[in-house]
Symmetry: C2
Subunit: 327 residues, 2 copies
């Protein structure tokens, strides 16, 4: 079976099990907003990758399911709170939870998802040392992602933003998260600590690489919101090209660029966006960003090659799959 | 030493240790909002009661500290998110975190506190079975409190609100939370499962009793916001007297009462409040509420008497202390 098909099959299994883990009950005022969010789509790729890793390394995937569910639920909890924090009103053509159910229900439903994720791991049947290790990994990933989000929320107002700061944010905000499912898959199979360290490192290569590519898509093709280019500029999102340009532009240009980034979304004009794109062009910021991302992906494959296990094929396959998706 | 002094001493110890658990670092954009909140006061009574229980039942309080810290951090995390959900702008004469640092930082800082609380337990040194049990208790309390909050957020709009529904909300929202520290103290000392069940039951007696008393204070003496009476009516808070009155008033009165409760806070007039107070007087709702709370406290002492342990004195002392504080 091709990896795409395996991931699809595992994703569908997770989707079914999510219905059991979070049963619908309109009267609890929790499952309805949660399912509104979960139904906006998502292919359950993160938990699928966890199960795939576990299987490839000889683990029992049935034992891995509660952790895989927790991976998916944490992911969606973070998105639900991110939508509030970023003021996003639409997710995949549907109103976000805070828009549809109000701020109070959205904050609280996100809190509840975290409780469900912990419960999924705590109530799973496996040896207690391994379970504690998974709880530790879950908490580490959650902690680091929230630390990254704190920096991200406040980045656009920071005067001295640069590539180093960008990398710190995305290593925290996306790096741990990318490795999360793989790490769980390893714990639930070979449970080799040196291998785990390498996988965390892999996350720090690939997470930022994909984030940079995502930043570039917004500036070249648009992010599927009707193909509008530059919505990150309107939102004042501290992207990689923004970080790089702040390092190389003149003082005057930096000042003007920051001013546009700090504008309220509604106030940013088309000519503001054009001005920023022209500035990025002048300093070849998009090419620099693209090359930076490619280098990180190269590093990722080297990290995989350095894995001290018999067979690292599954990690190469997963990396190929993710690189494919990011382009 | 008197119980007040013991609780004070333990509270001060927790306060010092909180500084180590959440070190100040302005650049992380997390510790500053968290300490803004933690510095609004609070006597750290919940963790102190946990330590006191542990000590009285012969446990080692040093081992109990990471859990006691988690109890206090969870409590404050819930308050931080509650302030957002209720739209409260002031806590103990200081602006709430979302007002001072913005909504995004307040949601995210609350999320972070939960991560710190879990980490405090996970990284503690104790036998792994007991640690897993504490994680289970922590997650149960967190889950039930959030479930209660979900019902509470949506209660004032509910047409068929009544005493049964009120009790369900407060058993979830305050009952588990009240027992939480005591339960932890028991696990960290005698670790007797039958005793734990009884303590959870105690929470379901005392949590609602204190909530009803709190509701009554708002309607008789005011809640320390300059002694203004009826701020819960302005906020549309679904109190016990409101729940009871909906059961006994005429259809016309119920309709008018709900209308006032559903008004925006700013629109509620002094004569609205007077009308509600008069209605409560007509149906002797405050007397009924007071008696209901007293009955729950009687039940609580009976629950303590039913404890199957050698010495239940500490629970009586703690109950006395809490009843004293609630009046």
């Amino acid at each position: 079976m091709k990896i795409e098909d395996k991931i699809k099959a595992y994703g569908e299994k997770i989707d079914t099990l999510l219905r059991e883990t979070i049963p619908s009950n309109k009267d609890d005022y929790l499952s309805e907003p949660i399912w509104h969010h979960l139904s906006t789509g998502g292919k359950r790729i993160r938990p699928a990758i966890c199960l795939l890793t576990c299987e490839a390394l000889g683990g029992n995937t049935e034992n891995a399911i509660p952790f895989a569910l927790a991976v998916e639920i944490l992911h969606n909890m973070l998105l639900m709170h991110d939508d509030i924090e970023d003021g996003d009103t639409v997710r995949r053509d549907k109103p976000t939870v805070w828009v549809k159910y109000g701020l109070a229900n959205a904050v609280n439903a996100g809190d509840y998802m975290l409780a469900i994720a912990y419960r999924s791991i705590i109530s799973s049947v496996m040896d207690i040392e391994r379970k504690m290790k998974l709880l530790d990994i879950f908490t580490l990933t959650y902690t680091k992602t929230v630390e990254g989000q704190a920096l991200d929320i406040n980045a656009r107002a920071a005067k001295d933003f640069n590539v180093e700061k960008y990398m710190k944010i995305v290593e925290l905000k996306t790096g741990y998260y990318l490795a999360f499912g793989l790490v769980g898959g390893v714990v639930l199979s070979i449970n080799d600590d040196r291998c785990l360290e390498t996988i965390w490192k892999l996350g720090k290569n690939m997470g930022p690489a994909f984030q940079i590519k995502d930043d570039l898509i917004d500036l070249t093709a648009g992010k599927g919101r009707g193909g509008v280019i530059g919505s990150d500029i309107c939102e004042g999102k501290a992207s990689f090209p923004y970080a790089y340009t702040l390092e190389v532009a003149s003082e005057k240009e930096k000042g003007d660029l920051r001013e546009i980034m700090l504008k309220e979304r509604r106030v940013t004009t088309d000519s503001d966006i054009k001005w920023v794109l022209d500035l990025y062009k002048k300093y070849e910021s998009l090419t620099y960003s693209q090359n930076y991302a490619e280098k990180l992906i190269e590093d990722a494959y080297k990290t995989i090659d350095s894995l001290n296990i018999n067979d690292n094929a599954v990690f190469k396959e997963i990396a190929d799959f993710m690189v494919q998706r990011s382009t």
